[in-house]
Each structure stands twice: as structure tokens, then as C-alpha cells.
């Protein structure tokens, strides 16, 4: 990796030295967006940027810090969204209760999924998360009595706040802003605690971590659940923001989208997801007029980013990339077995 990086002029600068300060500055700037800009469309886009910051950061907790490779984050996002949509339209639960409830629902499902995944490593873990996200989407598509299938759930009430109901965009912007700040704060605290150190030790070498007394399976479960919780919360906000939910929003491409933002921003850093979400969303928004060529540009952008700055926009050369020994072993691949066995 280093040899590629040395040849590459774009890899010189290291933002991580000032990570904390940069996060504070970016969040402070984001705070003023709806106050300065009154254009509804732009505030909408910025709301989505914040939503993706939460989603990408939640994925980053798994991919960046415990070294597993989850590609099915849209599954948890979907669970959170549908929990919120169903409970609010059928039982009239309020937005504020549903925020933690949908997070907890997603976390519970992730614990369930941990039963098969706790034993799995590398690509096997990846395929299960991928399959899980697809299973969730197909359940939403086919369980018509509960989810209304492909037509989706509409008519989601706008959340009230002390008796006044808000539907203005700035409202959602600030709700998401607060959630983002809380999430970044919590994640930062968790990562600096015993739990975060355990996660990183699993990332570096799970056998060594286990020999030092880290209960690997338990901490992996916790890691997965923590990540799923925030994805669920993001799902809840998304539903109330769009006031409509259908399985189309949670396809594989959505998972890949979240993953791409994470890698482009920089895995294993707090700042990476923020930068990734802002960059990708703003660039794709800028090319909205390019219509069908937009996705072409987006995919080309992903590849170009990997060519010129593979460690992500804010990733550093000096930090050890999240790669465990088990993964290097996978890199060698296996023996192709041509003989019938």
C-alpha cells in the first residue's frame, strides 16, 4: 500500500491531526445552513447530507473499528424505517418515542443476526449481511398485510412538538443535526472507552485480543448492535421526513451507496463519514441535471477516488489500515480446486 501512496501526489496531506477541530468547524458551519439559505431545495439536500452522516458513521463503527466488512447497512435502515412507519400509522405513536424505538428494533434484529455471524469471518460475514439486507427488503415487499408491499406506506403524520405540528424542512434539519451531534459525541466517547479499545483490538488481531481476555463474540455483537441502532434511528427520521416509505429505498444500491461514502471519506476515522457524505451528496446533487449520466459519473468518481486516494479523503498513510491477519490470509485467496472432489 505504501508504495502506491508514495508515488501519488494526492496522498501527501494528513487531515487527521486536526480531526476533532475540523469536526467542530464542519458541524458549526452546518448549524447555520438553514439560517443563511432559505432555498427549500438546498435545505432538503443538506438534510439528506445529515441523514447520510448518521448512516455512514453507523456503518463506519463496524467496518472501520471492528474490522468486519458489513455491506448490508440498508437492511437495518429499512427495519428502522418500517418500524416507525407501521407504529405511527397503525398505533399513532409519536415521532419522539419512535426515534429510540426504531433504533432499538434494528439493534434487536442485529442481535438476532449475530447468532449466525458471530462465528463467521471475512467474506462469509459479508455475504450474510448482504443476504440479510436483501431478505429484509423482500419481506417488506411481500408481507403485504403488514407493509402494504410495493405500494409502500404513505400518510405518515408530521411530528408534533409541544402541541405544534411541524412539517417545515428546517425542523427536520435541526432534529437530524441534534441526532448527528449526539451520535458523534456518543461514538467518540464509546471509542475512547474500554469497549472501543476492545473493538480496535479485535480489528487488529482477534486471536491476540481473545488471549488478552477480550470476549470477541460479545464485543462483536455489541459493535453490530450499536451500529444497527443508529441506522434504525436514521430510518425513523427518513420516514417522517419523506412521509412515505417503500422497499425501493432500501435496495442493494443503497447499501453500496453508504459503503462507498464511507470508503471515499475514510474508514476508521470519525471525520471520514462526515466528509464522505458531504462530498458525495453535493457532487451527485450538482450533476442532477445530467439525468441518466449522473450514476455513470458517480460510479466513475468512485473508481477515480480509489485510484488517486485509496485510503479515503481524510485517511492517513501513517495509520494502520483496518486489515486483520485473517484478511491478509483471505487476500491470498484459496487454492482453486480443479479436480473433482
Amino acid at each position: 500500500m505504501k508504495t502506491i501512496l508514495k508515488k501519488n501526489p494526492f496522498c501527501g496531506f494528513d487531515l487527521l491531526r486536526y480531526e476533532g477541530r475540523i469536526i467542530v468547524v464542519i458541524m458549526a458551519l452546518l448549524f447555520f445552513v438553514p439560517l443563511v439559505i432559505s432555498d427549500k431545495a438546498i435545505v432538503n439536500v443538506m438534510t439528506l447530507v445529515l441523514l447520510y452522516i448518521v448512516l455512514v458513521s453507523s456503518l463506519n463503527v463496524v467496518n472501520g473499528y471492528s474490522g468486519q466488512f458489513n455491506v448490508g447497512q440498508a437492511g437495518f435502515y429499512c427495519i428502522g424505517a418500517y418500524t416507525a412507519a407501521i407504529l405511527s400509522t397503525r398505533f399513532g405513536w409519536s415521532f419522539w418515542i419512535l426515534l429510540p424505538v426504531s433504533g432499538i428494533a434494528a439493534a434487536l434484529v442485529s442481535l438476532l443476526l449475530s447468532i449466525p455471524t458471530a462465528k463467521l469471518k471475512g467474506m462469509y460475514f459479508t455475504i450474510v449481511t448482504l443476504g440479510f439486507s436483501e431478505i429484509v427488503r423482500q419481506l417488506c415487499l411481500n408481507w403485504t398485510s403488514l407493509t402494504r408491499g410495493p405500494r409502500g406506506i404513505s400518510g405518515i403524520p408530521s411530528p408534533g412538538f409541544f402541541g405544534i405540528s411541524y412539517s417545515r424542512n428546517a425542523f427536520f434539519y435541526y432534529v437530524l443535526f441534534v441526532i448527528t451531534v449526539v451520535m458523534l459525541f456518543c461514538t467518540n466517547r464509546v471509542l475512547k472507552s474500554r469497549i472501543g479499545r476492545a473493538w480496535r483490538s479485535i480489528r487488529e488481531d482477534d486471536a491476540a485480543a481473545a488471549s488478552l481476555g477480550v470476549q470477541v463474540a460479545r464485543y462483536k455483537m455489541l459493535n453490530f448492535a450499536y451500529s444497527a441502532f443508529w441506522a434504525g434511528v436514521a430510518g425513523c427520521v427518513y420516514v417522517f421526513f419523506q412521509r412515505f416509505v417503500s422497499p425501493d429505498s432500501f435496495t442493494l444500491d443503497e447499501s453500496f451507496n453508504i459503503l462507498a461514502m464511507n470508503v471515499i471519506g475514510g474508514q476508521g476515522t470519525l471525520l471520514g463519514p462526515i466528509v464522505g457524505s458531504i462530498t458525495i451528496n453535493l457532487i451527485t446533487e450538482m450533476f442532477r441535471s445530467a439525468l441518466q449520466y449522473r450514476m455513470l459519473l458517480y460510479s466513475a468518481l468512485i473508481i477515480i477516488m480509489m485510484w488517486i486516494r485509496p485510503q479515503g479523503l481524510v485517511g492517513s498513510i501513517n495509520r494502520k489500515a483496518p486489515e486483520t491477519e485473517e484478511k491478509t490470509e483471505m487476500k491470498k485467496g484459496g487454492v482453486i480446486d480443479g479436480s473433482a472432489s
Partner: protein, 287 residues
């Protein structure tokens, strides 16, 4: 009914087997997972579609065009996604293949439009009836092509200089380089062969379904990945068996559930197998 679904499942499983053989070959030789496989498969199907419509081609030419176009794409994918990333963290080439897959999908969509394209079936709808089982010509053709290609692949891997070098690269790249194997060339060729097989699988799949759309790549690629994992990732015969098993279970599963639950059935099956054997069915003991 049950027997008929079993035969359908076998037919579909054969196509899955070809897809996942390609996948396992790529994983074995290159050592990296690809998420562009589904779109390479669809590319093969579209190559066949265009050769049918513009060249009035016969079956052989259609399959050949799928083979060649996808193989060429394999070369491009290798250059873009793998070549410079062999020593970097694994998620980098993986993200590149995701980008490549999206690029291909959207390129096909722009070139051909979003609507589903019909693929003619030159074999007609004839079938052989054995007792109360009906086997269509299409299924026999699929069977013949898949078995034929697997046999050729096995002979290639076991008995030619190039095939042996692919095998050795899949065991250990550094050691292969030390004994004078051009590992870059070997990985390029391995990737191209894997993609060509995918292209042929795409042609067969298109003819089997009768319809192709540019967007079907994501799902199919996942299916190929799924079958390869089930068989133990780099084991080619394991992948073939995995493909057939998934095909059969899917078709039995949609008898019980609705047809929309097709993918759910195959993924649940995979997760259940991984619960019992976390390294797939036919994984080699790790050395």
C-alpha cells in the same frame, strides 16, 4: 409437480453453477471478491441480444459473442480494479468492483434503454417427455453447455501450462513469481476466463428467462456470490454444486412461499448452511 420443479431447479441451478464457477475462479486466482460479476453476466446477455437482433445470429454465435464480450470486459475490470491494488487493503479493489458494476449497469441502460428486452429462443419450445417428466430442449442445451464448459475448464486447469500456472498463482502468488510464473498475466487470464464463463451464463440465463433488463445484474451477482460461498469460495466444483443446490432449493422454496420470495429462500438456505459449516460446504482445511 414436485418432479417438475426439481427439473426446473436443476436447469436454473446449472446456470447458477456456471456463474459461480466463474466467481470461484476469479476469487481463487485474483484472490479478491468482485461485485461486478452480475453486471458482467448481464453484459453477456446483452451481447447475445444484440447479436440476435443485428447479426441474425444463430445460437452458437450468440454464445460466442457473450463469451468474447464478457471476457474482454474481464480484461478491463482487471486493469481498472485489481491490477494496481494487489498489495493494498482488500476493501479498495472491492469498492472499485462496486463502482465498475454500477458503471456497466448504467452504461448498458443508457445504450439500450430501461425496458426489458426479449431474447429469442432458437431451440423452440419443444421438449422430451419421459414418463410424466417434461424436459425442454432449452434445459438439455443448458446442461450440455455447462457440463461441456466445466470439462474444458478442468482440462485446461489440469493439463496446460497456463492452467497449471493459474493453479499455482491461486496457491501462493509470491512463490509462483519466484518459480518464474508471470503472476500478472496469470491473474489477468484467470479473471478473463471467469468473466467469459459469466458471459455465457448470462446468455443462457437470458434465453431461459426470455427477458433481460439492465438492472437485473445486482441480484444475479449476489446469487453467484452466494453459490460460490456455499461451495467454499475457491473450490470450483464446490461452487458448481452450490449453484445447483441453490437453484433446486429456490424452486422448491417458491412452491411453499410466493415467487417473490425466491432470493429470500436462497439466502436463508445459505445462512442455515453457514450456521452449521461456517466455511461453506466444500472448503479446504485452511493450511
Amino acid at each position: 409437480m414436485l418432479l417438475e420443479q426439481l427439473i426446473n431447479g436443476l436447469g436454473q441451478g446449472m446456470i447458477y453453477a456456471l456463474m459461480s464457477i466463474g466467481y470461484a475462479l476469479i476469487f481463487g486466482v485474483v484472490g479478491l471478491v468482485t461485485f461486478a460479476h452480475g453486471d458482467v453476466i448481464v453484459l453477456g446477455a446483452f451481447a447475445a441480444f444484440y447479436s440476435f437482433t443485428f447479426l441474425n445470429a444463430n445460437l452458437f454465435v450468440a454464445v460466442l459473442s457473450g463469451f468474447i464480450v464478457s471476457g474482454t470486459m474481464g480484461f478491463v475490470i482487471h486493469r481498472v480494479c485489481y491490477n494496481r491494488f494487489f498489495s493494498s487493503p482488500r476493501q479498495i479493489p472491492l469498492i472499485c468492483t462496486i463502482g465498475m458494476g454500477m458503471f456497466l449497469r448504467n452504461l448498458i441502460q443508457i445504450a439500450s434503454g430501461t425496458e426489458a428486452k426479449p431474447i429469442p429462443n432458437p431451440l423452440g419450445t419443444g421438449s422430451i417427455v419421459l414418463g410424466n417428466i417434461r424436459i425442454t430442449y432449452m434445459q438439455i442445451f443448458i446442461f450440455a453447455v455447462v457440463v461441456g464448459m466445466s470439462v474444458v475448464l478442468t482440462l485446461f486447469l489440469g493439463h496446460t501450462r497456463m492452467g497449471l500456472s493459474l493453479k499455482s498463482v491461486s496457491m501462493d502468488k509470491t512463490a509462483s513469481a519466484l518459480v518464474g510464473i508471470n503472476t500478472k498475466r496469470a491473474t489477468t487470464i484467470g479473471n478473463m476466463i471467469g468473466c467469459s464463463l459469466a458471459g455465457v451464463a448470462g446468455v443462457l440465463l437470458g434465453m431461459y428467462y426470455g427477458m433481460i433488463t439492465p438492472m437485473m445484474g445486482g441480484n444475479i451477482g449476489m446469487k453467484a456470490f452466494c453459490c460460490a460461498v456455499l461451495g467454499g469460495m475457491s473450490n470450483i466444483w464446490g461452487a458448481a454444486v452450490g449453484g445447483i443446490l441453490i437453484g433446486v432449493f429456490e424452486n422448491l422454496g417458491i412452491m411453499v412461499f410466493s415467487a417473490g420470495m425466491r432470493d429470500t429462500v436462497s439466502f436463508l438456505f445459505l445462512i442455515l448452511v453457514l450456521l452449521i459449516k461456517p466455511e461453506g460446504l466444500f472448503a479446504r482445511r485452511s493450511r
